[in-house]
């Protein structure tokens, strides 16, 4: 019986305790139990049953305690229903308590960050632990900070704890956030704060610890990073300069402006504003104020230079007013009246004004040499600000005047979006900082530039085609023809024979959509030069035609109905050539149009000979196999099922899908208007049927509502061979047999 010993070894590893206990108990039961039980006497049976149930109960109890969420560190005796800061446990720091080293400037994620703590996880999400609040005092009982836990830091920690980053299990945490508030260095006693940090139970040289600081440095020289020695801890700091910022390790954050919480500024439409440049900061160095005055003299009304109101008393109210020559303005409302707002460095590089300016939708003109802009690791500030070197302040007006109007409007929109998404609250700031660190640890799952930088309106209206590389694929792989068929064998065989004459045909795939009937025997099929494969489907669904079958080995797919027999080999080959030039589009033969019916107030389907086209029917169309994959797995809403249920409009759905993701119109090739055999006019008649048209119109309206927009693009051109209908010997033309209608 070695159980007690093995338990003894694992005493410190609480996680494994129950595991070992269970092993121990069950080991005994399984290895010895079966051998003993048969020989048991009745009086012993009760004994064993009791023993067993006691063990079992014990196990259950332990299990329950173990798997209950709890944190070991929180044994630091402080309970949560006391919600006042003053009830947090008091910790006395001995004078001799160790002080961490000053931050190491060469720290990077791969040297100072323990990535093993984050581990591989399928959600690619780091886990963040927050230390419970303690009140640190020195030996004589003086607190290490004059403010203690600030409102903002409490908001920040609350936000983290509400987010999906949070874990209360210190052993599973990848990142640790101390509850020691270092947002403002001025309210800290540096040495004692450092000692308090080092006392944190998991400090371990600051490894994987994240400190948030917005106001670093202090008089007289205001350093640009928190002066508290902090070992290897990461610093999310406001006001980094290029010399203190450890690229790829620290996170540059904004200085939170408390005005954001108090004042609500409605979003203003981009456009020209009353003033061109506005300066609203109150603590500008006199040298710079003199420069601004000079600019004002030169350019007059376009500039508005505000300063503190001298007649107002100090305090929160005065922060909301600005004055110019006795004229009083409301701050920050006045910021909305200007196109550009100056954000000059003060004693520190990071300025809370930046946040106010962004909120007002005013474009910040940032004059703070060597300043690392907030979240510059992911945000493209060129789209939302103008950075001018301090020495070029006198040229500011000329520089700003040279910016195109359209760009100014885009920047105005961008500033507000940056504020909404990343500056508006301590929560936004904290989450962004964690998101950035998360992206570093799981770079392959990182948010993209577009996700970070495109405001919703751009995300909505812009398209990023998945096939974005300008590429004309070589002719040689050819295309795979996919024929959807049910039971029209004769017509199918004619189609197969016709298509097989196309030089670039690589393979023919027949999708047999009839479950009641087997496809004809192999010997009956037309003999063709390329491989012919038959796929039998499980259900008679239209979407089967767009399934990304493994048998399709080329990127080009020709979808063709089993009754399209009139397309000539030249026409098909030419269609393929055109597709090669537009591999991200649908390239098809029969074209259709959607129209807005003003009377009915909805979309209408049009199949007449028109001057415009916005769809090509997939009864005969080339497209990239990628769209098969999209159709099958990424079709928005219930469109796919809807199509299968109605047995109609799969082609319209495909047109919507492609146009929506590429933002491009399809290409109609060749003038052909008739596709089915003359004797099949009855069927043609059917498709012209009034009910058919109504149904198709319904499809368009349905899809437009699912997509939330009308993605189809209307064009007026079609593709013909270069020498089509030209007065030129037919035999010298590459594609002579084109054009019979």
């Amino acid at each position: 019986m070695s159980c007690p010993q093995s338990l003894g070894i694992t005493l410190n590893h609480t996680r494994y305790r129950s595991f070992y206990a269970r092993m121990c108990a069950s080991g005994k039961y399984t290895s010895r139990g079966p051998a003993l039980i048969p020989r048991m006497k009745t009086k012993h049976r009760i004994y064993y049953i009791t023993l067993f149930s006691v063990v079992l109960l014990g196990l259950i109890a332990t299990g329950m305690f173990q798997f209950w969420p709890h944190s070991i560190e929180s044994t630091a005796e402080w309970s949560l229903d006391r919600r006042s800061v003053h009830d947090a446990p008091l910790v006395r720091l001995p004078v001799s308590s160790p002080i961490p080293e000053r931050g190491d400037l060469s720290c990077r994620m791969h040297t100072c960050f323990d990535v093993y703590r984050c581990g591989y996880n399928p959600k690619n999400r780091i886990k963040v632990y927050i230390y419970p609040l303690q009140r640190f005092v020195d030996e004589v009982g003086v607190p290490i900070s004059s403010t203690g836990l600030s409102r903002e830091y409490n908001d920040l920690l609350s936000a983290i704890s509400d987010s999906d980053f949070y874990t209360d299990d210190v052993t599973r945490a990848c990142l640790f956030v101390p509850s020691i508030d270092v947002l403002n260095q001025n309210s800290l006693r540096i040495r004692e704060t450092a000692q308090a940090l080092a006392m944190l139970p998991r400090w371990d040289k600051g490894m994987n610890h994240l400190l948030f600081n917005m106001l670093p440095g202090g008089p007289p020289d205001y350093s640009t990073a928190l002066d508290v020695p902090r070992d290897r801890a990461l610093l999310a700091g406001g006001g980094f300069s290029t010399w203190t910022y450890r690229q790829g390790y620290d996170v540059s954050i904004p200085v939170y402006s408390p005005l954001s919480a108090d004042v609500e500024l409605p979003e203003k439409q981009p456009g020209p504003r009353r003033y061109f440049i506005l300066s609203s900061q109150t603590a500008i160095h006199r040298e710079y104020r003199a420069e601004l005055e000079r600019l004002k003299e030169e350019n007059g009304e376009a500039l508005l230079l505000l300063d503190k109101c001298s007649n107002l008393s100090q305090g929160a109210a005065s922060a909301r007013k600005r004055c110019y020559k006795g004229q009083v303005f409301d701050y920050p409302q006045i910021l909305q009246e200007s196109s550009f707002c100056v954000v000059l460095r003060g004693a520190r590089l990071g300025q809370a004004t930046l946040s106010d300016v962004l909120q007002a939708g005013c474009i910040p003109v940032i004059l703070a040499d060597s300043y690392i802009l907030p979240f510059s690791e992911v945000l493209d500030w060129k789209r939302a600000s103008v950075v001018i070197p301090e020495e070029k302040l006198p040229e500011m007006y000329t520089i700003l005047k040279s910016i195109p109007h359209r760009q100014v409007e885009e920047m105005q929109r961008q500033t507000r979006w940056f504020w909404d998404a990343y500056f508006s609250s301590m929560k936004a700031i904290g989450m962004t900082a964690l998101e950035i660190i998360n992206d570093r640890i799981y770079p392959y799952a990182a948010r993209t530039y577009e996700q970070w930088n495109n405001p919703p309106v751009v995300k909505w209206s812009s398209v990023n085609s998945p096939l974005f590389l300008p590429l004309i694929p070589p002719r040689s792989p050819g295309f795979t023809a996919v024929v959807l068929t049910y039971d029209r064998i004769e017509s199918l065989f004619r189609v197969i024979t016709e298509i097989s004459k196309v030089p670039s045909l690589a393979k023919l795939l027949v999708v047999w959509n009839n479950q009641n009937k087997s496809p004809p025997e192999e010997s009956l099929w037309p003999k063709i030069a390329v491989p012919l494969k038959v796929v039998r489907t499980k259900e008679n669904k239209l979407s089967n035609r767009f399934f990304p079958y493994d048998e399709i080995e080329t990127e080009a797919v020709l979808a063709i109905d089993d009754d399209i027999i009139m397309l000539t080999s030249d026409e098909l080959q030419f269609g393929y050539e055109v597709w090669r030039e537009f591999p991200d589009r649908l390239v098809g033969y029969p074209g259709r149009l959607h129209l807005w019916d003003h009377e009915m107030g909805k979309w209408k389907y049009e199949s007449e000979w028109t001057n415009e086209v916005s769809m090509v029917l997939t009864g005969a169309a080339f497209y990239h196999k990628y769209f098969n994959y999209l159709y099958t797995y990424k079709m928005p809403g219930d469109i796919k099922n809807w199509v299968d249920a109605h047995m109609n409009c799969e082609d319209i759905a495909m047109n919507f899908l492609v146009a929506n993701i590429t933002g491009k119109a399809p290409i109609k090739v060749t003038p052909r208007k008739k596709f089915k055999c003359p004797e099949c006019t009855a069927i043609d008649g059917l498709s012209l049927d009034q009910t058919h048209m109504v149904e198709r119109s319904e499809c368009i309206n349905k899809f437009a509502s699912v997509f939330g927009t009308m993605p189809l693009k209307v064009v007026e051109h079609r593709a013909d061979p270069v020498l089509y209908k030209d007065d030129f010997p037919e035999k010298l033309k590459s594609f002579p047999n084109i054009g019979s209608l």
Binding site: P122, L215, P219, P258
Partner: protein
């Protein structure tokens, strides 16, 4: 015996139980508290209750009184502070602010000077390529007085003392340069530094305040926004042009035969050996094939370890090229130095690089968003790499792969591209607020084709309408290039003027008077519905037709020869087509090029062919940005050639646009009597009939192709016609009926 056993069991079970209870007991208070915590959440706590969300009166982090007073503490004048910076932050702390003299770039913009070659200096082929790339670029100046950036003519590429390319006594040679100025505004290229066994990044001479363009630079030594990290390239790397990427099609699903491959040396001792030594743990000889060999160097047998023979045998079973082309991901582990040749090879092969090189500052990291084209792994997490790459979604692979190709062709395919990218990065720093945005660098056509002086707004370029979600322009400006005097009212130019100005899409007509005769008086010009602007060409040379006049108010330009015959309908149709393809040239008469195998050169043909690769700019619509590119991107030598010949300007324009877009121009329908028949009646007829004219165009093509480094033109097989063109329906139903009428 049995009793004994029973007691033993009883005892041990009891012991277990006591232990269990003991631990359970320790947990008990905790769990009680947890229960209470739950009560809180029931009582309407917001979200999860772990952080107590203190609601009492907390102080703000930055009290008002502090905010008001402290900023006034600034005593030091900001100007003095700025001036002090260069003294404080030098050497390893160099930044543009402290170690670069911006004032040198003020006078003549961003110009680069290359020191004259010194006699007797040996120079590697790669460095010669670098220097000649600079010298043939538009940024080059031979006058050091105009220069903003200086490049040494001393070969600094290989600073490995053991290398035959090592240049000795660099320290003194550099110090003796009279323009050296402690390296200020100098750029030093370097590929290799340090040597066995530690491979430090020391160059062996004092670089002073010079910037480094260095391969394999580590984040430790990299000075952000000052140095430039360049890729490691071999001496076979072509000087210009360069091969295109190997991606020919986007197959679906995007997986290739192998998931992850690597084939390379394994270092038995010394720096950088750890990662490669561990690779065999991940190798599965199926879809993850990571091969190493010990067989390199003179005395590998001496250090060989237990795995060497097995590894070597496995190594020889696979062909590197085959693996490279047939793998979805390629591992790029650090070698002796942080960067390796594998990186560029993988990039070109569209094999998504999986980086395993902790602390390597990726090439051009200042501007390239590598997360879109590579997987940045961590050497410490080698064992997770297979599961990581397997977890990457197909859509992501598709886009990673295309991005590798874009980046390869935009910035890496030749020495010239690498050098120009390096220079343009520095140029951007000098331009400051007017520099390229991240989107310009990371999307087609790439930063080298975007000249930010044109505009800092992306929407002013023809490439990003879709990604910005804006519509292409709705109006065009017609520019008519006039070379003959105005004598009669029936002259083609007047007909053309009337036809074009009637187009509803026409915003303005400009006549560029490039005729030797003086400008005709205003009343000689017909009155038009849109403003007519006649401007006199300054130099009256061919290239002036592609000058970017400030007077062009629209983004679209319809460029016309004076003898072009066009109807309003044709113009309208062409313009609607252009709106679908705003980055291309849309025109009427087309020409083609072909490779003349016998003469080993490019041939030009104006015959009617089944395909085309150029459209004549005597009648074509394109974006006005191409005017800017033509004037500012192309070297003076090519423009000079065009002016001198008064010919080939259209070929050059087609070269330029196709080099940018990598796509053919677009030909639209026209009535058949265009130039071929009409030109005989005009003055310029002689020009077209002249056999010399044709020969000139042929040789132009070859000159242009050699400057571009490859043939940028692309063939197209199709022409765009109006939808009902020549269809058998009533002509009344057709929108563009005039195109069919002769």
């Amino acid at each position: 015996m049995q009793a004994k056993k029973r007691y033993l069991i009883l005892f041990s079970a009891g012991a277990c139980l006591i232990l269990l209870l003991y631990f359970g007991g320790v947990q008990a208070p905790l769990s009680r508290r947890n229960n209470r915590r739950d009560d809180h959440s029931l009582r309407g706590y917001n979200g999860s209750p772990q952080w107590p969300h203190f609601s009492g009166a907390l102080q703000p982090f930055n009290p008002w009184d502090q905010m008001e007073t402290e900023e006034y503490n600034v005593h030091i004048s900001p100007r003095q502070k700025r001036e002090g910076i260069s003294g404080v932050y030098s050497g390893r702390h160099c930044r543009m602010e402290s170690c670069f003299d911006f004032s040198l770039c003020k006078t003549s913009g961003f110009k680069v000077y290359v020191y004259p070659l010194q006699k007797g200096e040996k120079m590697s082929e790669s460095y010669q390529n670098i220097l000649s790339s600079i010298e043939s670029s538009r940024l080059y100046t031979s006058d050091p007085g105009q220069a903003c950036l200086f490049v040494l003519s001393l070969d600094t590429l290989d600073r490995d003392i053991l290398s035959p390319q090592y240049v000795h006594n660099l320290r003194t040679k550099v110090q003796n340069l009279h323009l050296w100025n402690n390296g200020k505004n100098h750029l030093i290229f370097n590929l290799y530094s340090g040597t066995w066994p530690d491979y430090t990044e020391d160059l062996g001479f004092d670089i002073g305040q010079a910037m480094l363009a260095k391969a394999s630079i580590s984040t430790d030594n990299y000075r952000p926004n000052f140095d430039v990290s360049i890729p490691l390239f071999g001496k076979e790397h072509p000087r210009t042009g360069g091969e295109r990427g190997y991606l020919k099609y986007n197959s679906i699903p995007p997986y290739r035969k192998y998931m992850l491959v690597f084939k390379g040396k394994r270092y038995l001792t010394g720096i950088g050996s750890d990662t490669r030594n561990a690779l065999y743990h991940v190798h599965n000889s199926e879809d993850v094939v990571l091969l190493t060999t010990c067989k390199h160097g003179k005395d590998w047998q001496k250090h060989k370890d237990a795995r060497c023979d097995r590894d070597n045998a496995e190594y020889d079973r696979y062909d590197y090229r085959e693996m490279l082309y047939n793998s979805t991901f390629c591992l790029v582990p650090r070698g002796r130095r942080l960067g390796s040749f594998r990186f560029l090879e993988a990039l070109q092969a569209a094999c998504v690089p999986v980086m395993l090189s902790n602390g390597w500052e990726m090439p051009f990291s200042e501007i390239i968003d590598w997360n879109t084209a590579a997987v940045i792994g961590d050497e410490r997490l080698l064992l997770q790499i297979p599961s990581t790459v397997r977890s990457i979604h197909q859509d992501k692979i598709l886009s990673l792969r295309q991005q590798t190709q874009f980046l390869w062709e935009a910035y890496f395919s030749s020495v010239e591209r690498i050098v120009l990218t390096t220079l343009e990065i520095i140029h951007d720093r000098v331009l400051q607020h007017a520099s390229r945005s991240s989107l310009m660098w990371n999307s087609h056509p790439g930063g080298l084709y975007i000249l930010p002086q044109y505009s800092s707004y992306l929407g002013d370029y023809p490439f990003n309408y879709a990604t910005l979600g804006i519509r292409p322009p709705s109006k065009f400006t017609a520019i008519i290039h006039a070379v003959t005097p105005l004598v009669s009212q029936s002259q083609p130019i007047l007909k053309l003027l009337a036809a074009v100005s009637k187009s509803p899409y026409c915003d303005q007509v400009m006549v560029l008077w490039n005729c030797d005769k003086p400008l005709p008086p205003k009343h000689r010009w017909p009155s038009t519905a849109v403003p007519l602007l006649v401007i006199e060409g300054e130099s009256k040379v061919m290239s002036s037709r592609f000058q970017l006049h400030d007077t062009i108010p629209t983004d679209a330009v319809l460029s016309l020869d004076e003898d072009t015959v066009l109807s309003t309908t044709e113009v309208d149709f062409a313009f609607t087509v252009w709106q679908s393809f705003p980055d291309r040239i849309v025109g009427y008469p087309a020409r083609s090029h072909f490779w003349d195998g016998n003469k080993e050169r490019w041939g030009y043909t104006s015959k009617w062919t089944n395909d085309y690769s150029m459209v004549l700019t005597g009648a074509a619509i394109y974006h006005r940005y191409y005017h800017y590119l033509y004037t500012n991107y192309l070297p003076a030598s090519l423009r000079g050639l065009v002016d001198q010949l008064s010919n080939c300007e259209d070929i050059l324009m087609n070269f330029l646009v196709s080099a940018v877009t990598k796509l053919p121009p677009i030909k639209v329908t026209q009535k058949k009597q265009y130039k071929e028949t009409m030109m005989l009646q005009t003055s310029r007829a002689s020009r077209w009939a002249d056999p010399d004219h044709f020969a000139q165009r042929q040789s132009c093509m070859n000159t242009f192709a050699s400057w571009f480094g490859s043939m940028p033109l692309v063939h197209s097989n199709m022409r765009l016609d109006p939808l009902l063109f020549k269809d058998q329906v009533s002509i009344l139903r057709k929108k563009y009926k005039d195109i069919e009428r002769l």
